[in-house]
Symmetry: C2
Subunit: 361 residues, 2 copies
C-alpha cells in the first residue's frame, strides 16, 4: 500500500470518528496532521484506544451481512495490539471466550491483535475460536463438522488428537510472525455448550444434537482507516444459524431426515412438507433449549424486527443502511420478515470486516 | 427505435433461432437479408409463426426470475397478431383462459397480440387475466386483494360492479388503439377456483380461503428480436405463490394470524414459532386442496429440483443459465433447496419478458 492511499484512508476515518464522537474541528485536524506525519516517516500509524474502540463498532455497524446491528454501540473491545509472544496470544484467546460467554449472558466482544503491518503479527487460521472437528471416515462418511475437515487435519499434524465424537472441540490454529502454525488447546471446561432437547417430544436426546453457545468469527480482518487487524468477534446466535444451517445443510451435519424420523413425520413424499415441518420443529427445539440453559439467543423474527429498528434509527441520523439482502433474509420463512420486501443497497463501507487476504503493503 | 438497432436485434434473434432449430446457414442468411430490407422499407418487420413460437419459448427459457423453466419447450403459443377489433381481443382472452385451464390439467400457454409498432394495438392494463378485486372500505380496512385496488376503481368507472366478496373476479381491462380503456367481463363459469381445505384440521372452511387455478400474467411485453408484443402467459402455480405470498403478505390478504388461530397455535410470543408453523400448514392445505381438486400445482421443493435439472440440461448445451437469486429462492425454507447455496448470474438475455413501458419508437 502506498503512503498517500493510507493517508487518505486514515484521514477519512478520523473525520468520521471525530464528527460522530463530537470532537472539535481543531482536534480532528491536529490529529489528522499528526497521523499524516507519522505515515510519512514510519509508513504506517497507530490508532488510539478510543479510535480503535469506535472503529470496531463502526465496522459492525457497516457489516452488510449482519442482521444484529441494532446493538452496534454495545461492543466490548479488548486491545491486544501489544502481544509479545504466543503465550500472550493464547491468553487473549482464552480471555475472549470467557468474557464473551459470561455464563450464557453473552457479551458482544472483539479482541484486536496487532495490525498486519506490525513487526509482530498473529494470523488466525481458525474460522471460529470454538469449532467442532470433522473427520473423513474410511466409509467415506464424515464424522463431526464437514466444514472443519481441513483444519482438523492441520490440528492433527500439530499433534492434536480428538476423541472421535461428532463434537470434538478443535484447538485454535494461528501463526505467530512467519513461524509454522501453533495451536491453543480449548478445554471443554471453558466452552459453554447446549444440549438440544424438545419441550414436548421428549425422546430428542437420542438425536444427540448439541452446539456451543458463542460463535466467535476469527478469520476476518477488522479494517479501520487503512489498517488491517486480525480481530476475533462475536455476538450471540440467531437460532437459524444452528437449526437451519449447521445441523441441516447437506454439506454440514445434514440431520434433517433424522429429525423428521424422530418426529415420526411421513417422509414418503416431498408434498407432506416434512422437510419444512422438521425444520420449524428444529428451530423451536434449538431456541427453547438455549433459553432453558440460560444462553442468550434471538429468533429470526425478532432479529428481523430489531433490524428494522436499526434501519429507522440510522435513517434518523441521515445514514443509509447498506446490506446484503441474500444474507440478511433469514433462511426460515423469509417472506414473513420486512427485510424480504424491501430493497437495500449492498455497498462495503469502511471501517468493516474484510476477507482475510493479506493486502500488499 | 432506429432501424439499425432493430436490424441488429432481428439479426441476432434469427441467428439463434436458426441455429437452435437446425436451419442451414444459407436459409438463415437469406431470411436475415429479407428482414433487413423489410426494416429498411417499412421501419419494422414481421415474424413467421415458427419464429414467434420459438421466440416465446426462448423468452421463457431466459426468464431470470422463473423457477419453472425446465418445461420451456412445452409452451402452447397462440397467434393473435391479426386481431381486428375489441371483440376479437375478448375472444382471444376467453380462449386463453379456457385452453390454459383445461379442467385443471393446466397447459403452459401464451397468446401473442400485435406488436406495439403495429397499426392496431392492444394494451393490457390488468396484471393477470384472472384477478380478485380489492375494495377500500370506509373502516379503512380493505376487502379482497389489496394489490387490485387501482384496477378495481378503473373497472368500476367503466360500469363494472362487484358482489362485494373477498373474491370478486375482475374484468380484464385493456386499451384498443388509443381509445379509452375497455373491459372484458370474466364469468365465474370460465374460472376454475379451488376452495382451500385442510386434510386433517376439518374446520378450515370457516377461514374462507380460495384461489383461482391459473396465474396468467398479462402486463409484460414479450420481446423477440427487437419487437415488443403484449402477450399474456401462464404456467401452473407453485404452492408458495398462493400460500406464502397472496394469502400471507401484509400488503395482500394478510391471513396468517387467522390461520394460526384456526390451528389453535399459541400466538402469545414470537418464539413459539407460530408464524412458521402456520405458514407450513398453509402450504400443506393449499397444495393438498389443489391436488384434491385435480388442479396442477408444484411444491417448492420439487420445483427447485426441477430447476436443478434445467440447469444441468442447459449446461450440457453449453448455455449458462441466468437467474435472479432473490426471486428464484422459494419464500419457504429456502436453504433446503440447492438454489440457495449456489451463485447465479443475473443477466437479461433476449428474447425475454420485459416491463410494460412503451419503448420510444
Ligand atoms: C449481537 C448479536 C448478533 C447477531 C444476532 C448477529 C447475527 C448475524 C447473522 C445471523 C449473520 C449471518 C451469519 C451466517 O448466515 O453465516 C451475521 C453475520 C455477520 N455479523 Fe452479526 N450478529 C451479531 C453480532 C455481531 C457482532 C458483534 C459483529 C462484529 C463486531 C458482527 C458482524 C457480522 C459480520 C461481519 C457478519 C458476516 C460474516 C461472514 O461474512 O461470514 N455481528 N450476524
Ligand atoms: C409451468 C409452470 C411454471 C411455474 C411452476 C413457474 C414458477 C414461477 C414462480 C414461482 C415465479 C415467481 C413468481 C413470484 O414470486 O411472483 C415465476 C416467475 C416468472 N415466470 Fe414462471 N413458472 C411457470 C411457467 C412460466 C411460463 C409458461 C412463463 C412464460 C412463458 C414463465 C415466465 C415467468 C416470468 C417472466 C416470471 C417473472 C414474473 C415477474 O417479473 O413478475 N413462467 N415463475
Amino acid at each position: 500500500m502506498n503512503n498517500s492511499l493510507l493517508q487518505d484512508q486514515a484521514h477519512a476515518f478520523l473525520s468520521q470518528y471525530g464528527k460522530e464522537s463530537g470532537l472539535s474541528e481543531e482536534t480532528i485536524h491536529e490529529r489528522q496532521c499528526f497521523i499524516k506525519d507519522e505515515i510519512e516517516s514510519m509508513g504506517t500509524y497507530t490508532h488510539t484506544l478510543e479510535e480503535i474502540t469506535y472503529g470496531a463498532k463502526l465496522a459492525w455497524r457497516n457489516s452488510a451481512k449482519c442482521i444484529g446491528r441494532l446493538f452496534w454501540e454495545t461492543l466490548d473491545v479488548f486491545d491486544a495490539r501489544d502481544v509479545k509472544s504466543k503465550e500472550e496470544v493464547a491468553r487473549h484467546i482464552h480471555h475472549h471466550i470467557q468474557h464473551a460467554t459470561n455464563d450464557g449472558k453473552i457479551r458482544s466482544t472483539i479482541t484486536v491483535f496487532p495490525a498486519i503491518s506490525s513487526p509482530q503479527t498473529v494470523q488466525l487460521w481458525s474460522h471460529q475460536l470454538i469449532r467442532y472437528a470433522g473427520y473423513q471416515e474410511q466409509s467415506s462418511e464424515i464424522l463431526g463438522d464437514p466444514a472443519c475437515l481441513e483444519l482438523t487435519i492441520v490440528a492433527q499434524s500439530l499433534g492434536w488428537q480428538g476423541e472421535g465424537t461428532p463434537y470434538d472441540i478443535l484447538p485454535v490454529i494461528f501463526q505467530w510472525n512467519e513461524e509454522p502454525p501453533s495451536m491453543v488447546a480449548i478445554e471443554k471446561a471453558e466452552v459453554l455448550e447446549v444440549q438440544i432437547d424438545h419441550p414436548i417430544n421428549l425422546d430428542w436426546k437420542s438425536l444427540n444434537l448439541k452446539w456451543y453457545a458463542v460463535p466467535i468469527i476469527s478469520d476476518r480482518y477488522l479494517e479501520i482507516g487503512g489498517l488491517y487487524y486480525p480481530a476475533p468477534f462475536n455476538g450471540w446466535y440467531m437460532e437459524t444459524e444452528i437449526a437451519a444451517r449447521n445441523f441441516v445443510d447437506a454439506y454440514r451435519y445434514n440431520r434433517l431426515r433424522d429429525v423428521a424420523n424422530q418426529l415420526k413425520l411421513d417422509t414418503s413424499s416431498t408434498t407432506t412438507f416434512w422437510r419444512d415441518r422438521a425444520l420449524v420443529e428444529l428451530q423451536y427445539a434449538v431456541y427453547t433449549s438455549f433459553k432453558q440453559a440460560g444462553v442468550q439467543m434471538v429468533d429470526h423474527y425478532t432479529a428481523a424486527q430489531q433490524f428494522q429498528t436499526f434501519r429507522e434509527k440510522e435513517e434518523k441520523q441521515h445514514r443509509e443502511v447498506k446490506g446484503d439482502w441474500t444474507w440478511l433474509i433469514p433462511p426460515v420463512s423469509p417472506s414473513l420478515t420486512p427485510i424480504f420486501h424491501q430493497g437495500i443497497v449492498n455497498e462495503e463501507l469502511s471501517p468493516n470486516f474484510v476477507k482475510q487476504k493479506r493486502p500488499k503493503l
